[in-house]
């Protein structure tokens, strides 16, 4: 049981490359923090500095209030689960799990008891004599988890532990990790580039970009109120649509000439970005009345991706270079070439300034001038 505190943590490599530009983060006891970001954003480096596998250039890292910057990985009382599991190939499952305890001088009887208990917990009891190479991917993954759990560490660190598994197993192991973490209540930091994994596992989510923390909060908070355009584009699948808009008096002019009113003292003439998620664009049927507020835009469907429960439509909107992605309900019969009337709700829209930061402007007033 532990808290983890990162203060202005910076990592600069010998070649001058700065991988972490001062990261601040407080992880509470028993919390599962997921760090997510594109490759090269520094999320793995961050995890490795927590583990002690990379040195910290400046800033401070404390576990339970104790400064651990200078401590060896083994002295930090952490356990790490690696992407490729990193099991010792010449040791049995039992020895793999026992090795860390043995090095700490835990008595033999204790080791046996703890390994057996952990094996029970992970359903590995029948595999204790096997070598890693005789195990399936999912079993290896569980052994790697077991090796971490058996140590009863203060903090678990997970480095993309599920990315070597196939899709079905990944979902299953994701649930299992969640279940175990809740049960053991061990403070955990989990790194992934898979945003579904991130959304479903996290108590709190940290989105990183280019060595900085872009935003930190609960998954739904990040989904509903992304602080930057980067977070908006990264969280949610398919990604958010971005429309360039300009401010005309009280209104925002859309690329196709339509207008939308958001009540905020915006500087006239400034170029902003409006973001709207594919699932928040509402397709209106023939006879539907235009809802109050927002704007209606027209777009021609160029491509359809049926997913079963719903359908993704890639549609061309006048004045926009990229295709608009719209999530339609499964039964919606939008053929390629058909024209969609899409309602853009002000409540569900996000506005970003030219510095890509969020502008709180979605207190909507009634519509004017939509061309629908």
């Amino acid at each position: 049981m532990a808290t983890l505190q990162l203060s202005a943590l910076q990592k600069r490599y010998a070649n001058g490359f700065v991988a972490l530009h001062g990261v601040d983060l407080a992880v509470e006891d028993g919390e599962l923090i997921v760090i997510v970001g594109p490759s090269g954003c520094g999320k793995s480096t961050l995890l490795r500095t927590l583990a002690g596998l990379e040195s910290i250039t400046s800033g401070e890292l404390t576990i339970n209030g104790r400064r651990v910057n200078e401590l060896e990985p083994a002295e930090r009382d952490i356990a790490m689960v690696f992407q490729n599991y990193a099991l010792y190939p010449h040791m049995s499952v039992f020895d793999n799990m026992a090795y860390g305890l043995k090095n700490r001088g835990v008595p033999k009887d204790d080791i046996r008891r703890r390994v057996n208990a952990t094996a029970e917990l992970l359903d590995l009891g029948a595999l204790l004599d096997r070598r890693p190479r005789q195990l399936s991917g999912g079993q290896r993954q569980r052994v790697a988890m077991g090796r971490a759990i058996v140590r009863e560490p203060q903090v678990f660190l997970f480095d993309e532990p599920l990315s070597n598994l196939d899709a079905k197993l990944r979902v299953q192991m994701r649930l299992e990790i969640r279940r175990l973490q809740k049960r053991l209540k061990v403070t955990s930091v989990y790194v992934t580039h898979d945003q579904t994994e991130a959304m479903t596992l996290a108590d709190r989510l940290v989105v990183m970009n280019a060595g900085r923390v872009e935003q930190c909060g609960t998954p739904m908070a990040l989904y509903e109120r992304p602080a930057t355009r980067f977070v908006a584009g990264f969280i949610g699948s398919p990604a958010m649509n971005f429309l360039p808009v300009t401010v005309h008096g009280e209104r925002l002019r859309l690329p196709d000439g339509g207008e939308l009113t958001l009540a905020a003292g915006l500087e006239a003439g400034s170029a902003l970005t409006l973001g709207v998620r594919p699932e928040h664009l509402v397709a209106l049927d023939e006879g539907d009345a235009t809802p109050e507020g927002g704007a209606v835009i027209q777009a021609t469907v160029e491509m359809i991706e049926p997913l079963g429960a719903d359908t993704l439509a890639y549609a061309r909107m006048e004045g926009l270079d990229e295709l608009l992605v719209v999530r339609l309900h499964g039964e919606h019969a939008a053929g390629e070439g058909s024209v969609l009337r899409l309602w853009l709700s002000p409540e569900r829209s996000h506005l970003f300034g030219d510095d890509d930061r969020r502008i709180e402007a979605h207190r909507a007033t009634p519509v004017t001038g939509s061309r629908g």
């Binding site: 596998l53 790490m80 490729n84 010792y88 190939p89």
Partner: protein
Amino acid sequence: MRYQRPGLDLASHLLLAVGCGLFFLPVWLAFTASTHSMSDLYANVAPLWVGDAGLSNYARLIHDPVSGLGTDVLRLLANSMVMALGIAVGKIAISLLAAYAIVFFRFPLRRLCFWLIFITLMLPVEVRILPTYEVVADLHLLDSYPGLILPLIASATATFLLRQFYLTIPPELVEAARIDGAGPWRFLRDILLPLSKTNIAALFVIMFIYGWNQYLWPLLITTNADYLTVVVSLKRLLTTGDALVPWQDVTATAMLAMGPPVLVILLMQRYFVKGLVETEK
């Protein structure tokens, strides 16, 4: 790939058999010669079948000092064994540590160290034999086991092979061991050594035979019969001046000299092939 052509099978097996026969014939001739008496050998052409003096020839060589050598063959074999084992074990121990340092530790001039070791591959014993002799003589190591072993104990080949193997070990394994609290020595003992078992076995076979077959160096530094090795003794048995060459002794000693290397290969061939072919990860 397998072809379903019995003719081809037959022809290739025939070729194989002829090849084996050609290689085996000299060994067989040496063996038969070692079982005849000296007078037999000089009276007839080279015998193709075993004679009746075999047991007495071998017993004499093992029990009594051989004329012209001043010691019995058992002693020669023991000397060779000490030298070959010393060289093989020493080479492996040193290369293991050298490769470990080069691959897993960051220290200044690491790259230079590796290349310095590597270029010694191009300098065989014969090239540096005079300075080496000088050094060994100054250290008063002539006619001694250390003198036989030490100058041959460093091996660029083994260092290089082990380095290549170590490089294939995933860095996460090293990191997992660090988190598990294994320091450098423990990592070497618990993880690296067991993983390189087959490579070490293969190197042992190669290095043992290399050590066993050393000729020039032992010839140069041993004058005392107590430190004579069996390979060197063969040549000495042949130089008899005006007397007849005792071929039954020469061939019997050669047969005995072949024993240990053959035994090492037979015992270790399973690991030997594995170590050269696959990397177990």
